[in-house]
């Protein structure tokens, strides 16, 4: 059997996004978000994760796929990072998928905007495409206003 990798799948709008399982610490829902004025629009807010203050980054805004419908609560995908935990706000979290490396294809050139920079490749699933997310890329934007 060829090499394969496991991805946590999640829905962002109609996109199926895969995040390497080793980057994911946990999944949580229902946490209250405190908005951070003056921050980058990509910052969805701050949440209290068992006493630790975690910055939530809205994957919809990162991928520029439109705002989450009002009333729909995001799911927090808590990632490990060098600087403590970071939460990625997604719409839904699905199964862990095991995908063979040979199935990977580069992102289509016709993809435009930030999404193209943040997708490292595309996996062909049965009837669906899994977009592999560059988690470091998603987390590597700078702070908002620097006054």
């Amino acid at each position: 059997m060829a090499d394969s990798r496991e991805y946590t799948s999640c829905l962002v709008d109609d996109l199926l996004v895969g995040i390497p399982v080793e980057a994911v610490r946990e999944v949580t829902t229902g946490a209250e978000l405190t908005p951070v004025p003056l921050a980058s629009p990509l910052v969805g807010g701050l949440l209290n994760l068992r006493g630790e203050i975690v910055t939530a980054i809205d994957l919809r805004r990162c991928l520029q796929v439109g705002e989450r419908p009002a009333g729909q609560r995001p799911v927090h995908l808590i990632l490990r990072s060098d600087d403590g935990c970071v939460s990625l706000l997604v719409d839904e979290v699905g199964d862990v998928l095991d995908v063979a490396d040979e199935d990977i294809e580069p992102a289509p050139r016709t993809l435009r905007g930030r999404i193209r920079e943040l997708i490292t490749g595309v996996h062909k699933l049965d009837g669906r495409l899994l977009l592999v997310l560059d988690t470091d890329g998603v987390l590597s934007f700078s702070s908002g206003e620097l006054i």
Partner: protein, 720 residues
């Protein structure tokens, strides 16, 4: 780690503490040579290190301790009397043992650390005196078995931090349970949760206390520093300490160690004079260095003062000019205190000669930076010939602070209580009168002082109008940051709480408006406002790099003594002028069309009265009154400062109101023309201080007999 390693580590840690004690005792012994208690303590320390070293099979350390013990036993028996040479030798012994412990700690063995020089030095000390007859065989009988009873145990700091975090989480869980149980009609659950609540609170307090340490843990290293520095500089110094048991958070204790040591060295090197100079100046030959620490309103103040020559302001000014930091003109206009504050500028050392101790490029600017990093402030006061006092004010703990919770929009924000001066609520009816506007800047008059107002929702970039309280009142939090006072208008003021400060993640850390975040009782995250950051953002505080002017260095402004509140205005000929706010009754803006001319002068109808108007230019003797001055800008409004004198009001027309500042007037230079009190440098510009009492003397209008007939004026001053 083997059991032996464990024991060895324990030995190293314990011995180091013993050596700290040894040094303290030696310094004490020098000043009171007859104290048998002190000598006994020294002896015990050396003896126990020697014994333990033997047990651990550390022969070199054992030999070293033994050589010291021999000297000590002669001291104890009176065969030797302590003198600087012996004290020096014994301190060298402590250094040697410390060095060896360091090696043991790192490598697990004595290695090839060479201590023969110290052993020989100690041996010479013995030979230099005749051994007393009772030298052999007598040992202090207190050596064995009478170690002080242990009242504490060693706890790993990481463990303590972990406990602290766990307690934090426990508090949050407790809050949830209490909230939940209050909804249930279950008396047992309710009772249990209340008990849980009380115990959790006690536990939290207890854990906090474990992090507190007396400042003496830093201070006890200073006697040695003082002794060595004094010896090096050829000075005589008496060190006094007050408030050694003042407690501080552990992390702060660590943070102040280096700055404090540096300041003490500085005092001895630069502050205190040599014995000869002191005697010539009529002071005792021995200089006095006083350390004081005390709690003061949620903060700890640490003072280091000497009775030396004070800071030579002339020398500082010279250095600043040589270094290109200031022009001679600027230094001439600066007050003595401003010049003293220059020592906090990077690259300014007043040491006439660079010594090995200070003047190594690590200046007072580093001390200041270090203290500011932990949320503290440094001020210095100096009096020529009488000495210098350096005062550091630092927060009790970094992790916990009292904060005022306010709201803006739907969110709560926490304001550090240290920045809050008072809370003011302006009722809807009063708001238009008491909140005045100068163009698009609002000010609030608080007991005769005009304070700039800042709206929190605007600064947070929240859209829409400020939500007023239900009754239309405005809530103003009067704040002070780095010496600047201003009012912050918020939606609601909630309450004050003890909050635990948590750092922000890197994606939001650089936002200057926020100092961190905290978690409230209900688990929500609340941002903590950084009031200095807010002041900079709203241009109340200048950004150092932005203006580049030395006088406007925020670092300096910290330390400027609180002065008089002044309104800065654009004067004639592009000059900057300032008027004491105490002389201004109101600020008004009239529509240009409201101005009328009566008997060759401009007037305006004002609250049923006639307000005579004049421009600053026309009031100053150098400027011939012009028949008509093109005042104000093109917006149709004329800015008028209303001045009241003996019940009569006059209006002074100004082109532009620039700012309100607080500025000391002790450095006032004499006036060059009448009507002006003098000049000072404000925000890097020479500014004349106008005296409205003087210049408006001729403007006093006679009481208008037709006053009653005049219709109330149409005021444009309070429009938004």
């Amino acid at each position: 780690m083997t059991e032996m390693d464990e024991i060895l580590k324990e030995f190293v840690v314990e011995s180091r503490e013993n050596l700290d004690q040894l040094e303290r005792d030696l310094i004490a012994l020098e000043s009171t040579p007859s104290s048998t208690d002190t000598l006994g303590s020294i002896f015990r320390t050396v003896h126990s290190i020697k014994g333990a070293a033997g047990l651990m099979q550390l022969p070199k350390l054992e030999a070293l301790a033994h050589s010291g013990e021999s000297v000590l036993s002669q001291l104890r028996d009176g065969a030797l009397v302590i003198n600087p040479a012996i004290a020096g030798g014994l301190l060298a012994l402590a250094d040697g043992m410390r060095q060896m412990l360091l090696h043991i700690d790192r490598s697990g063995g004595e290695g090839d650390v060479d201590c023969t020089a110290i052993v020989e030095r100690l041996a010479r000390l013995q030979q230099s005196s005749v051994p007393g007859p009772a030298a052999a065989g007598t040992r202090p009988d207190t050596v064995d078995g009478t170690r002080p009873v242990q009242s504490g145990i060693r706890v790993n700091v990481d463990l303590l931090d972990k406990l602290m975090n766990l307690v934090g989480e426990l508090v949050l869980s407790r809050n949830e349970i209490v909230q939940f149980s209050s909804l249930q009609e279950h008396s047992v659950l309710l009772g249990t949760s209340q008990r849980l609540s009380a115990i959790t609170t006690q536990l939290q307090e207890g854990i906090m206390k474990t992090r507190m340490q007396p400042i003496d843990t830093v201070w006890n290293k200073l006697p040695r520093v003082v002794r060595d520095s004094a010896e090096f500089c050829g000075k005589r110094v008496r060190l006094e300490m007050e408030g050694r048991d003042t407690e501080l958070d552990r992390t702060l204790i660590e943070a102040i160690q280096d700055p404090l040591t540096h300041v003490v060295r500085n005092c001895i090197d630069h502050g205190l004079e040599t014995p000869e100079q002191r005697l010539a100046a009529g002071k005792p030959a021995e200089g006095r260095l006083l350390l004081r620490a005390f709690h003061d309103g949620g903060q700890v103040t640490i003072e280091v003062s000497d009775d030396g020559a004070g800071i030579d302001v002339a020398a500082i000014a010279r250095k600043a000019i040589e270094g290109g930091l200031l022009t001679p003109e600027q230094t001439r206009l600066m007050s003595e205190q401003d010049l003293v504050n220059l020592i906090f500028l990077p690259g300014l050392s007043t040491a006439s000669k660079v010594t090995s101790m200070s003047g190594r490029g690590v200046g007072m600017d580093v001390v200041k930076t270090n203290i500011e990093q932990i949320g503290g402030r440094v001020t210095v006061h100096s009096q020529a010939g009488a000495g210098t006092t350096l005062r550091m004010r630092i927060p009790l703990t970094l992790a916990i602070m009292t904060a005022l919770v306010v709201t803006s929009g739907d969110e709560c924000y926490a304001i550090p209580q240290v920045n809050v001066l008072e809370l003011v609520r302006v009722d809807a009816g009063e708001a238009t009168q008491r909140i005045e506007r100068i163009r698009d800047v609002a000010v609030y008059r608080l007991r005769g002082e005009l304070l700039p107002l800042v709206w929190l929702h605007t600064e947070l970039g929240q859209n829409g109008f400020q939500r007023l309280a239900a009754d239309g009142a405005a809530n103003i939090v009067i704040l002070e940051a780095d010496g600047v006072k201003f009012g912050l208008v918020v939606d609601e003021v909630r309450d004050t709480q003890e909050i635990v400060i948590k750092p922000l993640g890197r994606h939001v850390r650089a936002i200057a408006m926020f100092a961190g975040a905290t978690i409230m009782g209900d688990g929500r995250v609340v941002l903590i406002l950084d009031i200095s950051g807010l002041a900079v953002k709203t241009h109340l505080l200048s950004n150092v790099r932005e203006r580049g002017s030395v006088r406007h260095d925020a670092a300096l402004e910290d330390t400027i003594a609180r002065g008089e509140a002044l309104l800065l205005v654009a004067g004639p000929d592009e000059g900057q002028m300032a008027i004491p706010l105490s002389q201004i009754t109101r600020l008004e803006a009239f529509d240009r069309s409201a101005l009328e001319r009566v008997g060759g002068r401009e007037v305006v109808q004002y609250f049923g009265d006639i307000l005579p108007l004049a421009t600053i230019a026309s009031l100053l003797p150098e400027h011939a009154p012009r028949s008509r001055t093109p005042h104000g800008e093109h917006d149709g409004a004329v800015h008028v400062l209303v001045h009241t004198r003996d019940d009569r009001r006059v209006g002074v027309i100004v082109d532009r109101i620039l700012d309100t500042v607080e500025h000391g007037l002790e450095d006032l230079r004499p006036a060059t023309r009448s009507g002006v009190r003098g000049s000072v440098v404000i925000q890097g510009r020479v500014t004349e201080i106008l005296d409205l009492d003087l210049i408006c003397g001729g403007l006093d209008a006679p009481r208008p007999v037709w006053g009653q007939a005049v219709a109330p004026p149409e005021l444009v001053g309070a429009e938004a």
